[in-house]
Amino acid sequence: MSEQVHNRLAVVRAERKVSRQSLAEAVGAHYQTIGYIERGQYNPSLDLALKISKFFGLPVEALFSLEPFRPLTDEVYGRNQP
């Protein structure tokens, strides 16, 4: 009954130079859980998703979505999807 929640956590985390371990410690989760979320193997609770968003100072919809994310470069440079 679990719907896939898409995320761009790995991209944002790499861009901000944050390790899984330090993100996990900041949001009170295990570092493997961050990996599971990034790989789409675990959908975080609303509580955890909000904590992660708060950590990065981003709105939750910038990190998590029910629809697949467009590549960031497409969004930045405004390329239309084919």
Binding site: R13, S19, Q21, G28, H30, G35, Y36, R39, Y42, P44
Partner: protein, 181 residues
């Protein structure tokens, strides 16, 4: 995981269960399966020796010696499985995060289903044996009950060991590489 409520014991267990020095022992699914298979074999061997010790009229000294020797690799295998699962069953609930708590519930549910099936098989086996030989249920009920109890105790560990997943490799680069922590 609510770090504020963790006791000293919780924190030391958390450190112990997340100690990655023995990571090579459970790095792949094949190694984890091997550890679980070894654990099951050793448990069966120790259980068999215990049964022999208490039920058969044999010389107990060599039985105890062999059991003591087998207990060492059994404890090592237990440690390997616990490390592979990051203490999923050993840590207290408050030391687990939401994903681990859900995983623990799944593991316990699967183990419960497996032991239910095992119990049903054991009862059926006893009934069939009773039909063939009237004394069989009385003779085998004790050892069988002990065996089922041991399996019921250890089944969650075996299920958790088999369901543990590989460590994500990308984070090593983040943790120790140019991106830092």
């Amino acid at each position: 995981m609510t770090t504020t409520r963790l006791t000293r014991y919780d924190r030391s267990m958390l450190r112990l269960m997340n100690d990655r020095r023995g990571a090579a022992w459970y790095a792949t699914a094949a190694r984890r399966r091997l550890a679980v298979a070894a654990h099951i074999t050793l448990t069966a061997a120790i259980g068999g020796l215990m049964t022999h010790l208490f039920l058969a009229e044999g010389e107990p000294l060599w039985t105890i010696a062999v059991m003591a020797v087998l207990l060492v690799p059994w404890m090592v295998a237990t440690g390997v499985i616990n490390s592979a699962t990051r203490g999923l069953l050993e840590l207290r609930e408050r030391a687990l995060d939401e994903r681990q708590s859900a995983e623990r519930s799944r593991v316990l549910a699967r183990a419960h289903r497996a032991t239910t099936l095992l119990l049903a098989t054991a009862v059926l086996g006893l009934l069939v044996a009773g039909m063939a030989d009237g004394h069989a249920p009385k003779a085998y009920a004790g050892p069988l009950l002990i065996a089922v109890l041991v399996v019921h105790w250890l089944m969650p560990l075996w299920v958790a060991g088999l369901h543990a997943q590989d460590e994500p490799s990308e984070d090593d680069a983040l943790g120790t590489g140019p991106l830092g922590r």
